[in-house]
């Protein structure tokens, strides 16, 4: 399902270059659109409660309460405290991956070879672990706060035997995903290739980030998609009652 939210005016826009990392507070009522500019984008994401950062995205809780391993429009991203850090209100590529995680420096060197700043300047080979740790560090957070990450725009299939299969080309140029924040949510993300992307070249793709002022109506299909999410929104709204 896709839902375009052109009704909401954009109040800020930014380019996230391939390899870039960024963190910011998405305030309650705000909507973030991530647009894949060239195709084959991947964004590794984590979320926290901006005011109580011990409350963090919990993917196992998110998956089991919605009986899903993939995440797409209509799904909610839950904290460990039973609250909705973000709702996926629109998704034109149809699948984000919860299984692949991020590579560390050694794994990037193993996959792409050496790519140091000394030779490549700002085109150096970055890795998801360090990119996310740098952003978490800016908020006083550390290694223990890097939990399972969500890989937006990427798809990994699981066969009957449990084997993982990366699906190339899940996201095309122009595909976008929108995240609505029903609470003040610290968003931490980086634009790097999915760890299971078979492309042997280091080639992370850029995205456009667009911020909109929205309201709870944009996430109504997420809230009502199942009774679990209705209860998740009740837990969330209690913060602001």
């Amino acid at each position: 399902m896709t839902t375009s939210n052109t009704l909401f005016p954009v109040f800020a826009e930014e380019l996230l270059p391939g390899g870039g990392h960024r963190s910011f507070v998405l305030k309650r009522g705000e909507l973030l659109r991530l647009t894949d500019l060239n195709g084959n984008a991947n964004v590794s994401l984590t979320l926290l409660n901006a005011h109580e950062k011990t409350e963090r995205l919990n993917l196992p809780d998110s998956l089991k309460c919605q009986h899903t391993a993939k995440l797409t429009s209509g799904h909610c991203l839950y904290s460990d405290m039973g609250r909705v850090l973000a709702a996926i209100t629109a998704d034109t590529c149809g699948w984000s991956d919860s299984l692949g995680g991020v590579l560390c420096a050694d794994e990037v060197a193993e996959k792409y070879g050496q790519g140091r700043y000394q030779e490549l300047r700002n085109g150096f080979f970055r890795n998801g672990t360090d990119n996310l740790l740098v952003e978490l560090g800016k908020w006083g957070l550390g290694l223990s706060d890097l939990l399972m990450t969500l890989n937006l725009f990427s798809r990994v299939n699981v066969d009957d035997a449990g084997r993982l299969h990366f699906v190339p080309g899940n996201s095309k140029a122009g595909d976008y995903i929108e995240l609505y924040a029903p609470m003040d949510t610290l968003v931490v993300l980086t634009a790097l290739q999915h760890p299971m992307d078979p492309n042997p070249e280091y080639a992370p793709q850029p995205l456009q980030l667009s911020w909109m002022k929205a309201d709870a109506s944009v996430a109504e299909h997420c809230r009502t998609s199942r009774p679990e999410n209705q209860r998740g929104f009740i837990n969330t709204d209690r913060l602001f009652a």
Binding site: D61, L63, C65, A69, G100, G142, S144, V158, R231, N235
Partner: protein, 206 residues
């Protein structure tokens, strides 16, 4: 190695619904025994030398190319190091995605008034806070030994009746010194414990 309970260096009985925090030295083998069958044993591993280094589910799944754990699976840390290897497994499949139950997730999954039922993450916190080396921030995604949570081809996640049975066990060899944090799951709202939580037992061999 003669891994009978008589030759074990130590044995720990974990009653239904209780936590356990133990240490395992590199080279030691840990057997987790499902005494009565269909009992989820929610387990986390931490480096003893640096408890911020812990079991990393996504790296573990990615490196083995498979979503279930069984004999031969290497459990990797968030720093990319091998922590433990599964060396024997009479159950055959263990869950990596279902996480641990909590008061808060129970309110979402079942009903707001289920908040005060006992849960794994309460067990974890009790053990961590008493121990002092670990806290809430260290509690990440865990392994559910003996639990069956298949992923379907269209990306669904289903909670199936357990495939474990009385006396089934899994054995892990430690590749580094580790802290083993367990909640013997008290969940009563789904079939992960056959609606009847039962005891588990740990055996350690040198």
């Amino acid at each position: 190695m003669n891994t009978t309970s008589a030759t074990a260096a130590s044995t720990t009985f974990i009653p239904a619904g209780e936590p356990s925090l133990t240490e395992l030295k590199a080279g030691q083998t840990l057997r987790i025994l499902d005494l009565e069958g269909n009992q989820a044993v929610d387990t986390l591993f931490f480096s003893l030398a640096n408890p911020r280094e812990r079991y990393d589910v996504q790296r573990t799944l990615r490196r083995q190319g498979s979503v279930y754990l069984t004999t031969g699976s290497v459990l990797y840390s968030n720093l990319g190091k091998p922590m433990l290897t599964i060396v024997d497994d009479t159950c055959g499949r263990h869950d990596t995605l279902g996480g641990a139950c909590a008061q808060e997730s129970n309110t979402v999954r079942y009903a707001l008034e289920k908040r005060h039922m006992h849960s794994c993450r309460d067990n974890y916190l009790r053990a961590c806070v008493h121990d002092g080396r670990l806290g809430k921030g260290d509690i990440g995604p865990n392994i559910n030994f003996f639990m069956n949570v298949p992923v379907t081809a269209d990306g669904g996640l289903t909670f199936e009746d357990g495939i474990s049975a009385p006396g089934k066990y899994v054995e892990l060899r430690a590749e580094m010194d580790v802290i083993v944090l367990i909640s013997n799951c008290p969940q009563l709202n789904n079939p992960c414990n056959g609606y009847n939580p039962t005891p588990a037992e740990l055996h350690v061999w040198n």
